[in-house]
Amino acid sequence: MRIGIGISRQTDISSALQEAFWQAKTQLEEKKITLCLLFSSPEFASLSLLKTLHIYLPHTPIIGASTFGIILSSHIYRHSLAICLIHSENSKISVAKVQDIRKKSALIAGQELGKKLLEDFRGEKRDFAMVFCDGMLEEGSRLILGLQEILGTSFPVTGGSASDNLKFKQTYLYFNDELLTDAAVGVLWGGKIVFNLSSRHGWKPLGKSRTVTQSKGNIIQEIDNQPAINLYKDYFAKEIPFLKKDLKYISTLYPMGVYLEGEKEYLLRNILSIEEDGSLVCQGDIPNNSTIRLMIGTKDSCISASQQATEELMKEFSFSTLITKKIDIVFIFNSVSRYVLLRRLAEEELKTVQTTIQKNISDKSIYQSLDIPMIGFYTYGEHAPLKALYYQGRSHFHNQSIVLTAVGD
């Protein structure tokens, strides 16, 4: 596998694209490009961007998403544009998109995306799917559910939701020469590759356990037979208007945690909005009778969770005696909540990931360089499998998490 990555901070769309593309292209020399990933700040999201890139790469599948910030190695690039070109001789790749998710319902859309991804994959070994979806989508978990109904309930899914400049207004997805909203795009990865996925958040439960006594999909109506919002009213000693005003903090810093038996961490659910009747609209499903806790994140726990996630990611490659198990690239899908919590320490987290990867490969002779390319973006929601045996590796929609995906061929 050969990787070429380019980044540009120029404000002019076409010059930014040119700069990033040629940086990436020269690293690949004349090798055939298997896949192109495009991440950019929302201000770059335009049809002309994609049309031009498509002219550069008429026969290469292109997928990508708009983001609050691009992650490249241990750096965060805001108001930028990044292109990642991948050449892989042993990978089998197929890309697909699905549009009008709200009209179709997330579950049906997920199924459609799964079917489309499989179209070109008959008889081939498939390994994992990387999916990006609209960050404003309220039912992210149903999309993953629908996808898995087609690809297999324990089929690993990674990726995340597109984001914008923390305005939470409009996010974009890129698919070949198309600019999409209310959509999801995905790449199905197979062939003779090695890969591993891991995710963590580092948020800790606080206070008493509660039970969801009435919920519908991603809306929690009652907790312990009381309007769901009472939980937050009680904990923060604030009335609804004030809670609404502080929703940004509450949602990112103090999400709800759903207890999952056997899992090391709680599954986190952000609150998107507070309804008039006191219901809480979450980003992702919360089933009835779930045991939930209020969660709290600290900078330390957040960074150490990232380190644990990286250790877990690399464990598979570290203990392997097989010489072929070499990774070529690590994708990072990191929640903007972590950025909001860490702020000026945000790059510290990425540095931790980078050094942990380097530590794990430093004694392996198959690596010519310790600098494994790392690329990804800040998300409004993450996709990753749960590890506990009980869930048979079933992927979930997460919040507040860092999701790492290592691939090699």
Binding site: E43, H79, K208, F236, I296
Partner: protein, 495 residues
């Protein structure tokens, strides 16, 4: 067993003991339950207490996080401000100053919309010069609705305005509606040079809380912009002035050089003309003089005295005219470079003795003392003998002419640096008025004095001298005091 009980009629006893036993067990169980209950109550209490603590932690934590975010924002804003300042202070082009303020900077300072206006005195309106976050049509409508007098007043008072400090709620809402924002800060741009204006920044985000700190920050930014504008304008002014100066110098140079060309041309024409005319004059003059001489020789017969006198006059005037023509011809030859000066080593003493002989009659006539004194290192010069003679004849001739009887004429030489020799011809004559000194070497210039009115002259002598000296690579000048005398000095190369 039952038989035994029945047999001994012990049933009541058995029953009693059973009841007692059960009661004891029940009692013990009750105790246990009570104990457990109190334990559970205790646990519950602890849990509730912990939950209360959790609440405390959360409430503190959210405040902490908010404060930290505020702090982070401030730091980020300061960094952004520093970056902008650095960029704009480097810019000396007015149009580029505002281009340095980018959306990302603005976002770091906490705003997503910004406008800057400069007052155009001619059109009596504010011209937008910076726009972040507005469409062209939106700006147009804002400009149309701007209350110019209000903002001019603001600028006049150097007053900063913000949505949180403005007491007039009606005005506050008006500004918010006009700029379509929820919070705003307006700061005047007051460069000391050129047109002034104001900077507007605003945000639509409702949870942005502006503080006095934000206002100060924007004020600093406005000041930086004003300073940069001022610098750019002063630079532009200086630069333009310099350009103007350079242009003028160039223009004048062209004018002068074309004038010079013209003068050269005129001068050449004059020389050509003089040369041509002189030649044409010389031929008839020769015949006039020839015929006059023949007549005067009386070979063609005796002449009456009156005729003889008139012929004498013709002859004399013809001689003068011939000299004049010759001088003119010489000047134009030297000017046009047609005459090359011979480079002979000449003994000045010899030459001066010759001159003395030549001038002896006139010197005697006026009883003028003639002397010369040659410095030992300035006895020889490199010059054309015939031409040098003419120089001395002219200078000494003039000296005799303008020196009253019993006067003195003295000639001195001394050596100069760069292998030159200076020769001074001094007299005790009437002197030259100061205003004439400059023009004295010009052709046909004659000083207006009684001697000149009486004695005829061509006005070409000194001009010819000057030409000869300069053709040798020397200089000539004069120093004179009225009624005391004059000194003509000239330089010639030494061998």
């Amino acid at each position: 067993m039952i038989n035994i009980i029945l047999l001994y009629n012990l049933f009541p006893w058995f029953l009693l003991s059973l009841v007692i036993g059960l009661a004891v067990i029940l009692f013990l169980k009750m105790e246990k339950i009570r104990e457990l209950n109190s334990y559970v109550t205790h646990l519950k209490k602890s849990l509730d207490e912990i939950d209360e603590q959790a609440k405390l932690i959360l409430r503190t934590d959210i405040e902490l996080n908010k404060t930290q975010e505020e702090l982070d924002k401030k730091i980020t804003a300061l960094y952004a401000l520093q970056r902008i300042s650095r960029e704009i202070s480097k810019t000396l082009d007015e149009t580029k100053i505002f281009a340095q303020i980018q959306e990302s900077h603005l976002e770091d300072i906490g705003f997503e919309k910004a406008l800057a206006f400069l007052w155009n005195e001619k059109n009596k309106r504010f011209n937008p010069i910076l726009n972040i976050g507005y469409g062209a049509k939106e700006i147009e409508s804002i400009v149309l609705q701007l209350d110019n007098n209000f903002y001019l007043k603001l600028m006049e008072n150097n007053e900063t305005l913000s949505s949180f400090s403005l007491a007039d709620q009606q005005l506050n809402e008006k500004i918010k509606n006009l700029f379509k924002v929820n919070s705003f800060i307006i700061a005047p741009l007051l460069p000391k040079e050129g047109s002034q204006g104001f900077l507007f920044v605003g945000t639509e985000i409702t949870d942005t809380l502006l503080t006095a700190g934000n206002e100060e920050l924007i004020n600093i930014l406005a000041n930086q912009i004003s300073q940069a504008l001022e610098n750019a304008r002063l630079f532009e002014k200086t630069w333009q002035a310099q350009q103007e100066l350079e242009r003028k110098v160039e223009e004048r140079t062209i004018q002068l050089s074309s004038a010079l060309e013209e003068i050269k041309l005129i001068s050449k024409r004059k020389s050509d003309f003089v040369s041509a005319v002189s030649h044409e004059l010389r031929t008839p003059l020769t015949s006039i003089k020839g015929y006059a001489s023949i007549l005067l020789s009386e070979k063609l017969g005796q002449l009456p005295l009156a005729v003889k006198e008139r012929l004498d006059k013709i002859n004399r005037h013809s001689d003068e005219l011939a000299r004049l023509v010759n001088d003119l011809l010489d000047i134009s030859r030297i000017e046009s470079g047609k005459v090359t000066m011979k480079q002979e080593i000449l003994n000045l003493k010899e030459i001066l003795e010759e001159i003395k002989d030549l001038m002896n009659v006139q010197l005697k006539e006026k009883n003028i003392e003639f002397s010369y004194e040659l410095s030992s290192d300035a006895e020889y010069v490199l010059a054309d003998r015939q031409q040098l003679n003419r120089v001395f004849i002219n200078l000494v001739g003039n000296a005799i002419k303008f020196t009253p009887p019993q006067g003195k004429i003295s000639i001195k030489t001394h050596s100069l640096e760069n292998k030159m020799c200076q020769i001074d011809v001094s007299d005790t004559g009437i002197g030259i008025p100061q205003e004439s000194i400059k023009a004295i070497f010009d052709e046909f210039y004659r000083i207006d004095n009684p001697i000149n009115q009486r004695v005829k002259g061509t006005g070409l002598g000194l001009s010819l001298v000057k030409h000869i000296v300069e053709a040798h690579g020397g200089n000539i000048w004069v120093k004179s005091k009225l009624n005391e005398g004059s000194t003509f000095s000239f330089t010639l190369p030494k061998p």
